[in-house]
Subunit: 231 residues, 2 copies
């Protein structure tokens, strides 16, 4: 890959920021909506706290372990596709050479240049496989340490995000009183989170804030209406 300086301008979100965003977005939204929903059905804030903490434990483990397994399976997928490409280059080199040639014909190269590129590839099987991985399959080599850090950041962000909407229920006895405070606090937190997320991901901050607030608000309203209807 080219390491020229201007690449960094393209890089708007690092992997860790992405993991924090994933965990925090759901952590602020789902425990918030669950607590709001339960407030529509039960008066005791203690039950809301119990359910909320159970949800935070369940959600952070499910998301963290999910992120871990996804990163692991991406790495395994890459390794197995790489083995397959090596095998194809050995067993059906003519087909693979034709694929390289077709790619470069599409970019407007003349037959002489296409022949030269194909010939250069066949002399370096390792680079040839890298080229096919990236170009034919669109796969980038994965970072081996990614799975663990990814799991930790997703789960941690989920827990922190989930404790914000739940905190009011820990201090108020009555679930309805806590609900009002939780709604205000969490909608503000969702908006701030959306603003910061927008800055990091390159989206317009106000639009991003509107999206996170709306998602949380919709999820909470739906949960509240459903819980009230069946209680």
């Amino acid at each position: 890959m080219p390491q020229t300086p201007h690449i960094e301008r393209h890089f708007t979100a690092s992997a860790i920021v992405r993991d924090i965003v994933i965990g925090m977005a759901d952590g602020l939204t789902v425990p918030f909506a669950l607590a709001a929903g339960l407030s529509g059905a039960v008066a005791d804030a203690g039950i809301v706290v119990t359910a909320g903490l159970a949800e935070i434990a369940a959600g952070s483990i499910a998301m963290g372990l999910g992120g871990y397994l996804a990163a692991k399976s991406d790495a395994e997928h890459y390794a197995s596709e790489e083995r397959r490409e090596h095998q194809e280059i050995r067993e059906i080199p003519r087909e693979e050479m034709k694929e390289v040639a077709d790619i470069f014909r599409e970019y407007g190269l003349g037959e002489d240049q296409v022949g030269a590129v194909v010939e250069a590839m066949t002399r370096r099987p390792k680079q040839w496989v890298d080229f096919m991985m990236r170009f034919e399959l669109g796969l980038e080599p994965p970072d081996p340490k990614r799975a663990r850090t990814s799991a930790a950041f997703i789960a941690g962000a989920y827990v922190i995000g989930g404790l914000i909407p739940l905190a009011p229920y820990m201090f108020a006895r009555n679930a309805r009183t806590a609900l009002v405070i939780s709604v205000v606090v969490t909608l503000v937190a969702l908006a701030v989170f959306g603003l910061i997320k927008g800055r990091y991901t390159g989206a317009r901050p106000l639009k991003s804030a509107l999206q996170t607030t709306l998602t949380g608000g919709l999820a909470a309203t739906a949960a509240f209406l459903i819980a009230r209807a069946i209680a």
Copy 2:
């Protein structure tokens, strides 16, 4: 892109299967763990059902809308990077030409061929941008309809997955009785889901079944212990 037949052998999971897997994995896990957790704290199965349905509403909206917004923002990200590449090709063509040259030098092309490839690229700015998008940034053009179908499949799979662990609580009065049935039914469902998921994603089915069952079991155990400790 080359459209040779052997590409399809690489293709193990379509976008829709991926969305169903994402929604179902969390739908089977989080409502299951929440219901199990609440069963450690309250005896009334009705409260578990209320909390579970509120969670399914919240989780499916959060995940579905999250998938929708992620697909939309991927599309916007692609468009904005594409504009930037077009601009760079116009404004700093020498730097961009050097990047193309560096890429092909790494693949072992001689200077003559590198020069010819660069020259061919500069004659077709559209293909040149496509090349940089895919090669320098690793970005594929997004499907414009993706956001809506993605949201619907993720949310639908979450609801279906979430109703499986919750069903026993709807028929049993006592939460502890329902818990036992829910644990058995859901662990079997998680294992079956893992097997099918493994087949579609190319992972070893037994390993995949073990992973989904373990994730759900761990999340439920943690939620149960936390809820019981504070109740």
